[in-house]
């Protein structure tokens, strides 16, 4: 584990009125790894993503990206520095074509490319996510799995150093899941570091190098998938959600 820390989150707190959605969370994302972020619904995972990507500033705490303190920077500046993300609920740019969606990602992200270059990048990325034949379709007309891939492609086209993936597998069937997992692995092979939120226990255990577990906004566990599935605190956190707890136990059996 000699890889450099690319993103470091330190004691981040986010309050909404009286509610503490993220409570003193710290984590270190190392260059080139896939770090999984799991936890029951409402654990604060997406809120943490929103803070890191600059959607809203944290109540307190700091986060550093490639050695630079980026706490509270507006979202577009953070994106330009090289952090791209997808959303839990897909946000396709409905009245634009698939190609335009992805081109926009390439234009304004870290790549900051001209329109012509961006379009070439977009064509390449669409190949990676198997959407080439849909490039002239309006994004709003796609089905959910396709929309998810457009969103992934859009983030990827920005040529980020770090990619934040928020439940890209939710709502996909098993075949589609394995397709997207392959795409994620391919992205990692290109040297992009990935922080991924996922509910699909089986998938996240398979793909992550390390996993962090959040519950009620706090980090309750951190370790390799092996360590996580054997951590009694994690099972306890999932008790409110028996199905997920079972999935977790099943993972333990398989290891």
């Amino acid at each position: 584990m000699s890889a450099q820390v690319i993103l470091e989150v330190e004691n981040v707190v986010k309050n909404f009125g009286g509610l503490t959605a993220v409570d003193r969370v710290s984590l270190q994302l190392r260059e080139g790894e896939i770090l999984g972020l799991i936890g029951p619904n409402g654990a604060g995972k997406t809120t943490l993503f929103n803070v890191i990507s600059g959607v809203f500033p944290p109540t307190s705490g700091h986060y550093r990206f490639m050695g630079r303190d980026i706490t509270g920077l507006p979202a577009y500046k953070i994106a330009r520095l090289g952090i791209a993300r997808t959303h839990q609920v897909v946000r396709p740019l409905s009245e634009l074509t698939v190609l335009e969606n992805v081109t926009a990602g390439a234009c304004f992200g870290r790549g900051n490319q001209s329109l012509g270059e961006a379009e070439k990048t977009a064509v390449g990325v669409l190949g990676t996510v198997n959407l080439t034949e849909k490039k002239d379709t309006l994004a709003g007309k796609l089905n959910l799995p396709q929309k998810k891939r457009v969103e992934l492609a859009r983030a990827l086209a920005a040529k980020p150093y770090v990619l934040l993936l928020d439940e890209v597998l939710a709502g996909l069937n098993p075949t589609e899941v394995s397709v997207v997992l392959d795409i994620i692995k391919e992205i990692r092979e290109r040297g992009i570091t990935i922080l991924i939120i996922e509910h699909l226990m089986h998938a996240i255990m398979r793909i992550s190098d390390r996993i962090i577990v959040l519950d009620y906004g706090q980090k309750i566990a951190e370790g390799t998938p092996q360590e996580i599935v054997n951590d009694p605190k994690v099972i306890e956190a999932y008790l409110g959600d028996p199905k997920l707890a079972q999935a977790l136990v099943r993972e333990r059996g398989e290891r």
């Binding site: 990507s53 600059g54 959607v55 507006p74 979202a75 577009y76 500046k77 994106a79 330009r80 791209a84 993300r85 959303h87 946000r91 740019l93 409905s94 009245e95 634009l96 335009e100 081109t103 926009a104 990602g105 234009c107 304004f108 992200g109 870290r110 900051n112 001209s114 329109l115 012509g116 961006a118 859009r154 920005a158």
Partner: protein, 323 residues
């Protein structure tokens, strides 16, 4: 950029404007010129409004503010300071853009209907303010001395001159819109229209982009305001800040096709034609507003993408020629 200027659509459009401008000149027909003056004016207004409305997705009911302010500033410098028409046009355009820049920094934080409401408020505030503003002649407004036209070869020549200048402004609006649609900046605006929060996360500096679009959309209305009131010889608050006209321009964009390049042009021409046809038709004369209202309602309910949007959807082959 090369791709942009070799587009057949662009040159078709340029040809359209040249023909429109040359037609009354070739036939030396002042009535036709007056009709086309209005159409070209509405085309410019609709194209410029489309930048903030159709591309960026901000519903602006106060587009006419820029027309009115530009008009007032232009007529003011011409009548009080005795500046020439060209300088006045520049003054009109720039002051409209400066106002938009300042306003934009304040009100573009509002979204959806709240922004729309604020623009109505600003329109009414300007109307009320100018009606009380002594340097602009309060409720009476400003008039141009007849002698002003002498510098342009008399009133008759001045009318032709303002028509030609307006045609150039309309052509400029068309080219700006087309280049914008094909540019990175334009793409950024359309991303904002589709989903402003996603746009931010994608790296688009949305506050700057929105404000630039708003500032850009204000310039030509300011210029057109000067031309229109120069032609009329006087300006008064009710005509300069007429909320109804703002909404009419909005209707033209809807009629032609929201967010397209040719939509506002076709919509403005169509709307003016329909209106003048209704007004002269003896049967429908008294009911022209009712008929126009029913027509608008039918478009919104059944063809919300407008004429151009509809054609593009039905005939994919013409898309290259109809942006």
């Amino acid at each position: 950029m090369k791709r942009v200027f070799t587009s057949p659509f662009l040159w078709l459009g340029v040809a359209f404007f040249v023909v429109l401008a040359a037609w009354p000149m070739a036939t030396n027909d002042p009535t036709l010129r007056e009709d086309l003056f209005l159409i070209l004016m509405f085309i410019t207004m609709a194209l410029s409004l489309n930048i903030i409305l159709g591309f960026t997705g901000y519903v602006n009911f106060g587009h006419i503010v820029f027309f009115g302010l530009g008009g007032y500033m232009g007529i003011y410098v011409m009548s009080i300071l005795h500046w020439g028409l060209f300088t006045a046009m520049l003054v009109g355009g720039i002051s409209a853009s400066v106002l938009a820049f300042i306003l934009g920094a304040i009100i573009l934080r509002l979204r959806g209907a709240y922004f729309a409401l604020a623009t109505i408020g600003i329109n009414e505030m300007m109307l009320a303010f100018v009606s009380n503003f002594k340097p602009f002649g309060s409720g009476i407004g400003l008039s141009l001395d007849f002698g002003v036209y002498k510098a342009y070869g008399g009133a008759g020549k001045a009318l032709w001159l303002s028509f030609i200048l307006l045609a150039i402004a309309a052509l400029l609006a068309f080219i700006i819109t087309f280049v914008l649609k094909k540019s990175k900046f334009g793409l950024g605006l359309m991303v904002i229209r589709e989903d402003e929060d996603a746009a931010m996360v994608m790296g688009i500096p949305t506050p700057t982009f929105k404000n630039l679009a708003y500032t850009l959309s204000a310039f030509l209305p300011g210029v057109v305001g000067v031309l229109y009131f120069f032609k009329n010889g006087n300006i008064e608050p009710g005509e300069a800040f007429n909320l109804e006209m703002s909404i009419e321009v909005l209707v033209m964009i809807m009629l032609g096709g929201f967010g397209t390049v040719s939509g506002p042009v076709i919509g403005a021409a169509l709307y003016e034609e329909i209106r003048s046809w209704l007004i002269v038709n003896p049967l429908l004369q008294s009911m022209h507003l009712v008929v126009a209202g029913i027509l608008l309602l039918a478009i919104i309910l059944f063809v919300p993408i407008g004429v151009v949007g509809w054609i593009r959807q039905r005939l994919p082959l013409v898309r290259r020629y109809l942006e």
